[in-house]
Amino acid sequence: MALVEDVPARGNSAPEGPPLDPEKARAYWKKTSALMWTVLFIWFASGFLVHIFAPSLNAIKIAGFPIGFYMAAQGSLIIFVVGLYWFARRQNQIDEEFGVQEDA
């Protein structure tokens, strides 16, 4: 019977590193939070802000697409997808910078 706290995150028996000192933990969380707010801003801008201007954007047409319609139908979606891959990469870099990534 294994209690959860005995089980390292990977579920294998890799040794745990020394506990993170509080100063470093704070710095790590600050950077992570900054990234969080950045992504939330991208989310808000492409999920809401840009669509407020849909009626005016619709006056522009490219390849038959009114731009206001296009942004809601495809444009914002592309931003969401690319944004998430970027987030995953960026957060991994932060983890490695502070040495808190999981053991491989």
Binding site: V4, S33, G47, A63, V81, L84, Q91, N92
Partner: protein
């Protein structure tokens, strides 16, 4: 790949690419063979049967070979699902009957207004990725209520979480079963009630024996079928109409031609059919084509609720418990959205091409000349009107714009026939729709049964239950929940999208704030979280029930004199209203002079200056109330901020969480190292 030992290299996992590539090839070959059979004169009915039964057979087979008797395998697929495959499984877990068969239909009907579903059902993944998934994975237990229990001091928080989970998931699963019923009814020619139970058998074989492990690998298989089935008709239509088989890039052409046709119809004095907008690409408009504040507010409110709901639906969040690491959990959210994106950015193209086909080929044609297949879709829907309803309003024998009425739920399913494709494509689309509905139903039923067996039975009733007994109970409950859901679906057909949107609002208001603040705000206290969840849940669910089923009563409290009288007149004239409601409403109208503003009318008209009036709409055969003009499918817009606010305020006035709890939060914020539970009793025996 029967029961594998955890930890060792699983030959199935090692060969995933090969297995699923072979499977994809097999499915394509199967479609080609059926296409050849069709040319050789095999009847349509047989093709429909083959598609439905063979695909369900494959899912059942995967379900059976993935059976397991281990807790970690049953609840979280042994935590060894690679990011890409978890992304695919999440994709089909996510894309339900509403996405596959309902969404393009809504876009067809609502034009720009329908894009709220596209935005709302993709953008939410940004919230999942940054706010929750990595931390839930690090926490590393089995269910979302597990997290609430561990973070907020035990059974009360867990119980509230379970109640929200059950309400939202049950509403959602009923919608999926309706979707299964629609497809089987049409392609197997059986009654709606029987169709529902046939579909259910398919769902159960997948999930019952192998739990999460079986559901995961079945969902990957279902994703492959549903995406192929969705993309091929869109590519064919694009090739046919524009000459280039790239629907996502080419449907601008269709949008322009739709606009021209709409203008031509209007110039001829015609009006669009009920429920369909006459200006496909125009944002935020009322029926007359002018800007409407209410349309704009409802658009953004719906986008918000669907996004936040995405990040709170337990059957989605629990998928991120199955990846091997925190890092993979993050990558997996990106992959999930990518696989979902493939369908969602095709849906507007699908809708546009289908609309163009219908406008071009059928409107202003003699009704007597309509093709044969139209008859197949003139069967009765559970809503009391035929799926495709040809109503010759002016009796001139010519099909006008407002005389071709197609229910949004069958736009996708009937498009292959509308566009004159071979029947094998129609059968394939049906198999895709079935895959979408079954995969989501699987995930939901599992979330429901796990909440009952793991969170209620094991965590709250019998902590010492041996593994075997826990899994037996989980399976028994799965069957019971499934039967209850099918019974509900068979007895109340309802618009799929509307039911689904309710599930999102309920989950968003009940769970989102407590989950996010549990990770991001260390000062969040147990009491605050419990009160916050309750407030969000009760306000939202209460608003939904009150405004939907007792709309007149809602207006009598929040409406002005005029709003009350308008609603009473509508109720008195509503054919579907009950005799008591009619009598009551007529009495109100008769004594119009005595009607006063409702007691909370000041609240209801607080935003009138912004053009947001508390009023009613007649929808789904009911008088439905709208506070500030916001449709109740966006009911979460009230509950979500209220839940955050409640949790924040109550946290200021209650005792700060213990150091042990703060350490626990610290430990789930950092990918490396173990999880330091504040209370060892929250640990789970494997």
């Amino acid at each position: 790949m029967s029961v594998s030992t955890s930890g060792g290299k699983d030959p199935f996992i090692a060969n995933l690419n090969r297995i699923y590539a072979g499977y994809t090839g097999g499915f394509l070959a199967f479609v080609v063979i059926l296409g050849i059979l069709e040319q050789l004169g095999v009847p349509d009915r047989v093709i429909g049967y083959l598609f439905v039964f063979l695909t369900i057979g494959v899912y059942a087979y995967i379900g059976i070979i993935s059976r397991t008797a281990q807790v970690a395998e049953y609840y979280v697929a042994g935590r060894k699902v690679p990011a890409v495959y978890n992304g695919m499984a999440t994709g089909s877990d996510w894309m339900s009957a509403a996405s596959f068969i309902g969404m393009a239909g809504s876009l067809y009907a609502l034009g720009y207004g329908g894009l709220a579903f596209i935005l709302g059902w993709t953008g939410g993944y940004m919230l999942v990725a940054v706010l929750l998934a990595p931390y839930l994975r690090k926490f590393g237990q089995y269910t979302v209520p597990d997290f609430l229990g561990a973070r907020y001091g035990g059974n009360l928080a867990r119980m509230i979480g379970v109640v929200v989970l059950i309400t939202a998931s049950f509403v959602y699963v009923v919608a999926q079963i309706v979707g299964v019923g629609i497809i089987t009814q049409r392609f197997l020619d059986v009654s709606f009630g029987l169709a529902v139970f046939l579909g259910l058998a398919g769902i159960l074989v997948c999930s019952m024996l192998g739990g999460m492990r079986a559901v995961t690998w079945t969902q990957v298989a279902q994703y492959i079928i549903l995406i192929i089935a969705y993309l091929i008709p869109a590519f064919l239509m694009s090739a046919k109409i524009t000459g280039v088989p790239l629907p996502q890039l080419m449907y601008g052409v269709a949008l322009e031609r739709i606009e021209a046709l709409e203008n031509a119809f209007r110039a001829a004095g015609q009006t669009p059919p009920p429920g369909v907008v006459g200006f496909h690409t125009a944002p935020f408009i009322g029926p007359n084509g002018q800007f409407s504040m209410s349309a704009a507010v409802n658009f953004f409110a719906l986008v918000f609720c669907l996004m936040v709901g995405t990040a709170a639906l337990p059957h989605i969040l629990m998928r991120y418990f199955t990846t091997p690491s925190v890092r993979e959990a993050r990558a997996s959210v990106a992959w999930s959205l990518f696989f979902i994106f493939l369908l969602y950015f095709t849906a507007p193209a699908y809708a546009a091409f289908a609309k163009l086909e219908i406008y071009q080929n059928f409107i202003n044609q003699p009704i007597a000349n309509l093709p044969e297949w139209v008859k197949n879709w003139q069967i009765m829907s559970p809503y009391g009107v035929p799926w495709i309803n040809i109503v010759d309003v002016n009796r001139d024998g010519i099909l006008q714009w407002n005389e071709f009425r197609i229910h949004p739920d069958v736009v996708v399913l009937s498009t292959p026939e509308i566009a004159g494709m071979p029947y094998v494509i129609a059968g394939m689309v049906a198999a895709g729709g079935l895959a979408a509905a079954l995969s989501t139903a699987d995930g939901l039923l599992l979330a429901l049964a796990n909440a009952l067996s793991h969170d209620i039975y094991y965590k709250m009733i019998n902590r010492n239950a041996p593994t075997k007994q826990r899994l037996i109970i989980a399976r028994a409950l799965l069957i019971l929940v499934a039967i209850a859901a099918a019974w509900t679906a068979g007895n109340m057909g309802a618009d799929i999208l509307f039911l689904v949107a309710w599930a999102f609002s309920i989950a968003a208001a009940g769970l989102f704030a407590a989950l996010v603040m549990g990770v991001w705000y260390k000062r969040t206290t147990n009491t605050a979280a419990c009160v916050g969840m309750l407030v969000g849940y009760i306000v939202t669910f209460g608003y939904l029930i009150w405004s939907e089923f007792f709309g007149l009563s809602f207006i009598e409290v929040f409406g002005t004199k005029e709003a009350i009288l308008n609603a009473a007149r509508a109720a008195a004239n509503l054919p579907q209203a009950s005799a008591e409601l009619k009598a009551y409403a007529s009495a109100l109208v008769a004594n119009a002079a005595a009607v006063q503003d409702g007691p909370l009318a000041w609240f209801g008209k607080a935003l009138s200056g912004w053009g947001m009036h508390t009023d009613h709409v007649v929808l789904r055969g009911r008088v439905v109330a709208r506070l500030w003009g916001i449709n109740n499918i966006s009911g979460g817009i009230f509950g979500v901020p209220l839940a955050f606010l409640t949790i924040y305020i109550v946290s200021q006035f209650t005792k700060a969480p213990s150091q042990a709890m703060q350490d626990f939060v610290e430990s789930i914020r950092i990918p490396r190292g173990g999880v330091r539970l504040a209370d060892a009793r929250e640990a789970v025996k494997e």
